[in-house]
Amino acid sequence: MVHVQSGIAGVDMIDFPILTLMTVLPLIGVLFIFLIRGDEELVAHNARFAALYTSLFTFALSVYMLGHFDGSSADFQFVEKKEWLPSLGIFYHMGVDGISVFFVALSAFLTPLCILASWDSIKTRVKEYMIAFLVLETFMIGTFCALDTILFYVFFEAVLIPMFLIIGVWGGERRVYSAFKFFLYTLLGSVLMLLALLTLYFQTGTTDIPTLLESPVARDMQMWLWLAFFASFAVKMPMWPFHTWLPDAHVEAPTAGSVILAGVLLKMGGYGFLRFSIPMFPEASAYYADFVYWLSVIAIIYTSLVALVQEDMKKLIAYSSVAHMGFVTLGIFTGTIQGIEGGIFQMISHGLISAALFLCVGIIYDRMHSREINRYGGLVKNMPKYATLFMILMLASVGLPGTSGFVGEFLSLVGAFTVNTTAALFATTGVVLGAIYMLTLYRRVVFGPQEHEDAANMPDLNWREYSILVPLVTLVLLLGIFPNFVISRVAPSADRLVSLYQSGLQGAVIQQIEPAAGFVADLLPMPEVIVNE
């Protein structure tokens, strides 16, 4: 039933369907939680533990998977393929390569932390909450493992449902508005992507992603499909000007919801660009590259400036996320090895940093029930541990060398600089602006005189909060000093992506003679595609 692709000699193989197991395991946890009976207190207690153990076990599996991942190969690994809808030629096809493997690990890593973070702060409908989170984990891991476009689409869209519920049920005051805004925005993009996926299927007759990567698409078709995919991924990223759902969603979501949203859900957009847009539509990607650069640059500068004037901590960090994702899109659309590896690294790193920053906000929110920056001040006196960890994360967000935040940002910028110095120059101003808003935030919350007595007397981290933040901070530092752990495993797949992109462009030289895609050129006044030789 399961076909496991043999690894290269000398590399361990896993002889059980690990990806399916990781995807299904949370659902088994859900089943257990369903079965829990008893009085409310006991149900909540058991649901918490069931969810924690399930997610921890999934995380252990992901570590095992990373350990057996062959970092020298660009192929899909741990592949499983079996018939699903044979009449349509649609398969249940799972597998990971260097681009996706760390996102799977990131999802599995953040979920138990989220469950721990919700331990005391979620008091109502605990059972349902835990179920929602585990289901969410299934869909996230599924999204990154799916190697069939239909399967991918199902997972990709299904993620919205538990997230929608988490914001809508356990969120803050304006949770319904935010949940709908989030849902509408992302759904609108998704509909277009579904159309594109179907078109792709009718054009090529397959939904198999590895096959699609090898099947060139005609240039004018690329132009349309690219835009359709872009609609979906740009909203997810989110890129300017499709970003306004994010601050609202973050503000209203419970802490753990924000963590997953910033940590994993945003990365689905970037992952989509890397999996679909760039390798499948290289000519369109090159054609629209300048357009993406400028959207990224605007995102970096614009949202950094907006972050500066926020009075709500969560909003500030949400806006900073948009700016940081700007570096990702800037990097990956350069089609250079540094840009793509930088983009991937930046996503992983931001997944850790922003998740931890939202946890930091959640920790003081739990004590004060306020996200207003003005309500705090002088926390360092009573909460030195918190101040220290928050400081490291703040610096990582600013992109200080030695933290993971630097590596991704810098590599993306290096990639950008090699193809477009002007865009790189403007994007680099983001490092100055980032320093301003983060340092100001930290200064107002943690330093300064203790103006509010209740804020000044908050207790320092308890063991649970400590054990959530310390692993994140440790990873942020380790990946800052030894980023090659990630980069070297990403490299073969990134190399292959670059070569797919470049060879796709070489085909473009021949096709350019034909007058193709005139309508797109009319639609968007942009320079003709320039092929990098």
Binding site: L184, T244, E341, P401, L413, F417, L425, T428, V432
Partner: protein, 667 residues
């Protein structure tokens, strides 16, 4: 040995930072001091083996980033230039560490303070021992971080926090240039390792590359971008506004970071990249002019300030200006020479000032001092030594290095060299003036402090005085001791430079042999060599104007008290310009700070809320609502309404088809 010279401070930082509570204040002080002293001894040994015997050494520690061709290692690269810096850093740092035991004895968080100092030392060592630009950037930002932490050390003070953030952000503006410079170097050279860059430099001297849509001279662009980083870190004119504010930090910090070491990182950077700057004459010219202006402007401000630490801070800025214009006329050895001597005498002055502040119960305003020289004679003596060295009085360290810089500037024989020379002379006069103004205001005259403070005046404890004595020794002898090696002419000592035979380096004490390949000067640019052959008046002018400056200070502040006020009234506008620091802060506040916040608010309220949300989701939602409302209103329930609409629709349909038919010519 390299590892022993670099890593002990890191270990000390981790131990004192993580286990400060467990080992206690005494434990933290011991660990940090011991490790930095160990590092200092190790670097002195390294100085012996590397600087005096030639060969640079490299230790590769680990791979850091490998992304395509972008390959960077963690490594320790120790050549002559690096080892000179290491010695300065570690020796001054050791002095400051020990001094801090006494100075911070009443502070509740001693362990944290010591940990930050050690972190700074480590970051600075990583900066100078890097063999590539990215590790340099790591150290560069690392020292910025330590500086941020230490300026804001008293974090309950809003002014200290503001100064810390300002320092970090203004430095980031410089780092913006440095980061772009690194990227440009990667694009032009295909690598960011020094070896590769420097050996390819000559071959790329005429290359151009496309920057911002223009074909520009690659070297000039790269060097100007690097220089932007240096301007930020070394507080040169334009990005200097953070340095005076940084005096909010404890005084040992000002001595270590904001006088002796971190602020000289920019000088080091340009000296390190002399192989590129030599091929970018335009960039050198810019460096020279900015340096000269900084030396002058900072000196004018220093003459008017009343905060003892701010006077020394502006003096630091001014002296850094000297180093930069020396770099700008290709006198890299002279700049490095002044860097070393300055580190000693400026750290001495700062720590001496700290000793005064300590004695005066934390008073920094010189208007509230005076008449205390008899009470703290040792500190007074040490301040004199620092002052004499700073003013470049003969036989003190500053004399040798400052004169060399001025002579080199004159010997450059270019318009900007001349400009720098005269600016430097003017600044030298002012330097002597403000130094003795400071000494006279602080120590002489009638006591202006209140009685409680006066009764409490005491000489600092021994743990603070011993580091001062070490630095004072340096401030006296560093000049004459290193003159030959740092800037001495090979032709004067009779040695013939022979690059083929490095074994001959042993015991050859002149600049070619000492610096070896670590500094690069094109033969036609060798201004340090030319400086040995300038006319006598050039050699003597700095000392003469210095003496005049001292005399003037004596006249104004000792002989004719009240004269100063009269002069101030006479040149009121000029005085206000100087006193208000040429209004840089005010201009930046108006032009940048306020507008950035204003733009942010506009983007948020108008951009996000009104435009994007208004036209996007909210607009869509309200549109669909209103459409639905209209549709529901249409369902009136009256039959004639429906009939009317039906007829209307039919009419429209028929007309449309007819219209189409007409167009196609069917009718």
């Amino acid at each position: 040995m390299e590892i022993l010279a670099v890593f002990p401070p890191l270990v000390a930082f981790l131990v004192a930072g993580l286990f400060g509570k467990q080992i206690g204040d005494k434990g933290a002080q011991f660990v940090t001091c011991a490790s930095v002293i160990l590092a200092a001894i190790s670097s002195c040994v390294l100085f012996g083996t590397i600087a005096l015997q030639g060969e640079p050494r490299i230790v590769v520690l680990a791979n850091w980033i490998s992304s395509g061709d972008f390959i960077v290692n963690w490594s320790l690269y120790v050549d002559q230039l690096a080892v000179v810096m290491m010695c300065v850093i570690n020796i001054v740092s050791a002095c400051v560490h020990v001094y801090s035991i006494g100075y911070m004895s009443n502070d509740p968080s001693k362990a944290r303070f010591m940990a930050y100092l050690s972190l700074f030392t480590f970051a600075m060592l990583m900066l100078v021992t890097s063999d590539n630009l990215l590790q340099l950037f790591f150290g560069w930002e690392g020292v910025g971080l330590a500086s941020y932490l230490l300026i804001g050390f008293w974090n309950q003070k809003p002014s200290a926090n503001a100064a810390a953030v300002k320092a970090f952000v203004v430095n980031r503006v410089g780092d913006f240039g440095l980061a772009l410079g690194i990227m440009a170097i990667f694009v032009v050279f295909g690598s960011i390792e020094y070896d590769v860059i420097f050996s390819a430099a000559a071959g790329k001297a005429e290359d151009s590359f496309n920057f911002l849509g223009h074909e520009l001279h690659a070297m000039t662009v790269i060097c100007l971008l690097l220089f932007m980083g240096a301007v930020g870190k070394s507080a040169q004119l334009g990005l200097h506004t953070w340095l005076p504010d940084a005096m909010e930090g404890p005084t040992p910090v000002s001595a270590l970071i904001h006088a002796a070491t971190m602020v000289t990182a920019g000088v080091f950077l340009i000296a390190r990249f002399s192989p590129l700057f030599e091929y970018a004459p335009l960039a050198l010219q810019v460096v020279c002019i900015v340096g000269a202006l900084t030396a002058f402007v900072a000196a004018t401000i220093a003459t008017t300030q009343f905060d003892i630490k701010r006077v020394i801070a502006y003096s630091t800025m001014s002296q850094l200006g000297y180093m930069f214009f020396a770099l700008g006329v290709s006198a890299y050895p002279a700049a490095m020479f002044h860097l070393v001597t300055h580190a000693f005498f400026k750290a001495l002055l700062f720590l001496g000032a700290g000793s005064v502040i300590h004695a005066m119960s934390d008073e920094q305003d010189m208007r509230k001092m005076g008449g205390i020289w008899k009470a703290i004679p040792s500190t007074y003596m040490l301040m004199w030594i620092g002052g004499l060295s700073l003013a470049g009085m003969p036989f003190f360290a500053g004399f040798y290095s400052k004169d060399m810089i001025l002579e080199a500037a004159w010997a450059d024989h270019t318009w900007f060299g001349n400009f720098a020379f005269w600016m430097g002379i003017a600044a030298a006069a002012m330097t002597a003036f403000y130094t003795w103004r400071m000494i006279f205001l602080t120590f002489h005259g009638k006591p202006r402090a209140d009685e409680k403070v006066m009764a409490n005046i005491h000489e600092s404890p021994r743990v603070m005085m011993i580091p001062l004595l070490v630095l004072a020794t340096g401030a006296i002898v560093a000049g004459s001791l290193f003159y030959g090696g740092f800037v001495g002419s090979a032709h004067e000592t009779g040695h013939v430079y022979d690059s083929g035979h490095k074994e001959n380096y042993v015991n050859l004490w002149d600049k070619e042999h000492f610096w070896g390949d670590s500094l690069f000067v094109l033969p036609q640019n060798d201004t340090v060599e030319a400086a040995h052959h300038v006319p006598e008046w050039v050699k003597h002018l700095p000392v003469i104007v210095g003496l005049l400056g001292i005399a003037l200070a004596y006249f104004v502040y000792i002989r004719r008290q009240g004269f100063a006020d009269r002069v101030v009234r006479l040149i009121k506008p000029l005085y206000l310009l100087f006193f208000n620091k040429w209004y840089f802060d005010e201009i930046y506040e108006r032009v940048f700070v306020r507008n950035i916040w204003r733009i942010g608010r506009v983007f948020w309220k108008t951009g996000d809320k009104r435009l994007i949300d208004g036209l996007g989701p909210d607009g869509f939602a309200s549109l669909s609502q209103s459409v639905a409302r209209r549709f529901s209103k249409m369902q009136t329930g009256y039959l004639y309404h429906y009939a009317f609409v039906t007829v209307l629709g039919l009419l429209a349909l028929v007309s449309w088809f007819m219209y189409k038919a007409v167009l196609q010519g069917l009718i």
